[in-house]
C-alpha cells in the first residue's frame, strides 16, 4: 500500500525539538551508566538540550505536521519558551542541590528532559491522543522524580500520593477524552468545532472531565489536595518544574479545547462552574496558606491560589484572556521558580522539613538569595514593578473588560489575603534575628545564575512588559477562532 509511510521530512523536522530532548535524555542515561565521572556536566548537557530544543522550535516554520496533529506556531514558541525557562531554572538549581544531598544521578536529568518533552507535546498536540500521551509522559516522569529521594520516607510518600491521585486523575481525563471522541467521532481537537456539539450534555461532561483532569495538574481547588504534600516531600528543584510547567501546558490544552468547541461563546453555566473553581482556588489557596509553617507547603497553596487567578482568564475566555494567561504564566514562572530556587539554596538540610522560621534573619546572613526570595514573594503578591503585577494586571483587565466584576473583586480580596503570608515570609527573612549560626558555603555559580535570572526577569517583565504582551497576543491569535 502506498499509504504505508506518509511521514515526510517536514514531519521529522517538526518533531526535532522533542527528538533533541529524547536523545539528550538517552545520552545522559548512557553517560550515567558508562561514564559516571562526567556527572558534573550532565546538568549542562541537559541545559544545552533544552536550549537547543527551544531554539529549534523557534526556528521551525509555522504550520502543522503529522497530518495536522503537531503544531508549530507563535503559541507553541511562546509556551515552549515558558516551559524551557522553567526547565532551565530547574536544571540550574538541580545540580548543586543534588550534589549536596548526595543524590545526583543522571536519571534525574533524563527524566526531567522527558517530562519536558511530554509538556511540549501537550502544548503542540492538536490531537487529544498526543496530548494524553504527553501528559502521561510528563506525569510518569514526575511520579518518579517525586519519589526520587529513596532515602527519604517523605519523598516516597510524595511519590505515592502523586502517583495515586495522578493515576486517578488520568483515568478521569481519559474518560473525558473518550466522551469527546465518542460524540465527535474523532480524536482531533478541531473535530470538536461542530456546531451541534457545544450543546450536547455528554460533550459538556467530557469537557468537565478534562477540566478536572487538567485542573488536577494545575492544582485547582478542589482537585488540589495532592500539591502541598507532594511539594513538601519532593526534591525542591523538581518542585520548581512541577509547580510551573505542567500548569501552563494544562491551561493551554483547556484553552484549545474550549476554543475549538465553543469558539468564543462558553455556555454560561460552564462559565459559572469554572468561575466557581477559580474562586474556590483563590480563596482556599490563600486562606489555608496563611496557616502554613512549611515554606514549600506555603508555596503550594500559593500556587493553588495563583491557578485560581489564571482560571479567571479561562472564565473570561477569548484571545486577550489567553494572552493574559500566557503573560501570567511567564510571571508565575519567574516568581515561583525563583522562589523555589531560593528555597533550594536557603535550606541546607534536606532531611528535615522546611519551616519558615528557619529563614529567620537570612536577609542578613544570606543577602542575595534572601533578596531574590523576597522579590519573588512580592511578585507573587502582585506588587507593581514586578512581573507578578503585570500578570494580575492583564488577567483582571480582561475580567473587568468583560464584566466579570464579582470575580474580579473576589480575586482582589483574595490577593489581599495573600499579602498576609507573603509578607510574613518577608518579615521573617528580614526582621527576625538569625536562628542558625555559622558561616554558609558560598553560593554555587549555577544557583547564583538561576537566582539572578529570576530576579532580573521579575523586574524586567514588571517594568517593560510590552514585548511580553505582544508575544502573548501573537501567540493567542494562533488559535483559529482567536484570529483577529
Amino acid at each position: 500500500m502506498n499509504t504505508f509511510l506518509t511521514v515526510t521530512a517536514a514531519d521529522i523536522q517538526a518533531v526535532l525539538p522533542e527528538t533533541i530532548l529524547a536523545a539528550a535524555g538517552c545520552l545522559i542515561l548512557l553517560l550515567e551508566a558508562f561514564a559516571p565521572r562526567l556527572r558534573p556536566v550532565f546538568a549542562w548537557i541537559a541545559l544545552l538540550a533544552v536550549a537547543a530544543s527551544q531554539w529549534t522550535l523557534i526556528r521551525l516554520p509555522e504550520g502543522t505536521a503529522f497530518a495536522g496533529r503537531l503544531e508549530t506556531s507563535p503559541l507553541t514558541w511562546a509556551v515552549g519558551l515558558f516551559l524551557a525557562g522553567t526547565a532551565i531554572v530547574t536544571l540550574l538549581i538541580a545540580r548543586p542541590y543534588l550534589e549536596r544531598t548526595g543524590e545526583e544521578k543522571g536519571e534525574f536529568y533524563s527524566l526531567l528532559l522527558w517530562a519536558h518533552l511530554g509538556a511540549l507535546l501537550m502544548v503542540r498536540g492538536l490531537d487529544l491522543l498526543i496530548v494524553f500521551v504527553g501528559l502521561e509522559t510528563l506525569s510518569l516522569s514526575f511520579y518518579v522524580l517525586a519519589a526520587f529521594f529513596r532515602g527519604s520516607a517523605a519523598s516516597s510518600e510524595a511519590g505515592l500520593k502523586y502517583f495515586l491521585t495522578g493515576a486517578f486523575g488520568s483515568a478521569i481525563t481519559l474518560f473525558g477524552v473518550v466522551l469527546l471522541f465518542g460524540r465527535s467521532g474523532s480524536i482531533r481537537i478541531d473535530a470538536l468545532s461542530q456546531p451541534e456539539l457545544a450543546g450536547e450534555p455528554l460533550v459538556i461532561v467530557g469537557v468537565l472531565m478534562l477540566v478536572v483532569g487538567f485542573g488536577f495538574k494545575m492544582s485547582l481547588a478542589p482537585f488540589h489536595a495532592w500539591a502541598p504534600d507532594v511539594y513538601q516531600g519532593m526534591p525542591t528543584p523538581a518542585v520548581a518544574y512541577l509547580s510551573v510547567a505542567p500548569k501552563g501546558a494544562s491551561l493551554i490544552v483547556l484553552f484549545r479545547v474550549f476554543e475549538a468547541l465553543f469558539q468564543g461563546q462558553v455556555p454560561s453555566r460552564l462559565r459559572t462552574a469554572i468561575a466557581a473553581v477559580a474562586v474556590l482556588s483563590m480563596l482556599l489557596g490563600n486562606i489555608v496558606a496563611l496557616a502554613q509553617r512549611d515554606i514549600k507547603r506555603l508555596l503550594a497553596y500559593s500556587g493553588i491560589a495563583h491557578m485560581g487567578y489564571v482560571t479567571i482568564a479561562l472564565t473570561v475566555f477569548g484571545p486577550d484572556a489567553l494572552a493574559a494567561a500566557i503573560v501570567y504564566f511567564f510571571a508565575y514562572l519567574v516568581s515561583n521558580a525563583g522562589a523555589f530556587a531560593a528555597v533550594s539554596v536557603l535550606f541546607r538540610d534536606e532531611t528535615r522539613d522546611h519551616p519558615i522560621g528557619l529563614l529567620s534573619g537570612e536577609g542578613r546572613r544570606n543577602p542575595f538569595p534572601a533578596a531574590v526570595l523576597a522579590l519573588c514573594l512580592l511578585s507573587l503578591a502582585g506588587i507593581p514593578a514586578t512581573a507578578g503585577f503585570i500578570g494580575k494586571f492583564f488577567v483582571f483587565k480582561g475580567a473587568i473588560e468583560q464584566g466579570f466584576y464579582t470575580l474580579a473583586v473576589i480575586g482582589i480580596g483574595a490577593s489581599l489575603i495573600s499579602i498576609g503570608y507573603y509578607l510574613k515570609v518577608v518579615y521573617i527573612l528580614y526582621m527576625r534575628d538569625p536562628v542558625e549560626e555559622g558561616a554558609l558555603p558560598p553560593l554555587k555559580a549555577s544557583n547564583g545564575l538561576a537566582l539572578s535570572l529570576c530576579g532580573a526577569a521579575i523586574l524586567a517583565l514588571g517594568i517593560f512588559p510590552a514585548r511580553l504582551w505582544d508575544m502573548a497576543e501573537r501567540a493567542a491569535a494562533t488559535l483559529p477562532f482567536f484570529q483577529p
Binding site: Y143, V144, E157, A171, G182, I187, P228
Partner: protein, 103 residues
C-alpha cells in the same frame, strides 16, 4: 451500527465498570488495591472507546486503546516501583497510615 449489541449497552457496561473502579479507588486502603481499581477505570474507558469506535466505524478508537494499554503498563511499572520504595520505609502501603505529609 454493526455491533452485536446497542452502543447504549456497551456504554452502560463501561459506566458500571468505571463506577466499580471508583468504589475500589475510594474505599480500599491498600495502595495496590486502589491502583487495581484505577486500572479498572481505565479499562472502562477503553471499553467505551471500542464501543464508540465501532459505532463510528473508525479505527481511531482502537488505536487510542492501544496507547492506553501501553501507558497502563508504564504506569504499573512506575507505580509498583513507588510502592516498593515506600514499603521499604514504612513497611506498609495502607494509605490510611501513609500520612507523614499533611496539614
Amino acid at each position: 451500527m454493526s455491533g452485536p449489541v446497542p452502543l447504549l449497552h456497551v456504554l452502560i457496561l463501561s459506566v458500571a465498570l468505571f463506577a466499580i473502579g471508583l468504589t475500589g479507588a475510594l474505599l480500599r486502603r491498600n495502595a495496590i488495591h486502589i491502583f487495581l481499581s484505577i486500572e479498572l477505570m481505565m479499562n472502562a474507558a477503553n471499553l467505551a472507546l471500542i464501543g464508540y469506535a465501532l459505532s463510528w466505524g473508525t479505527p481511531e478508537g482502537q488505536i487510542v486503546v492501544f496507547f492506553v494499554i501501553a501507558i497502563a503498563a508504564a504506569e504499573a511499572s512506575v507505580g509498583l516501583a513507588i510502592f516498593v520504595a515506600l514499603f521499604r520505609h514504612t513497611k506498609t502501603i495502607d494509605v490510611n497510615q501513609v500520612n507523614l505529609l499533611k496539614w
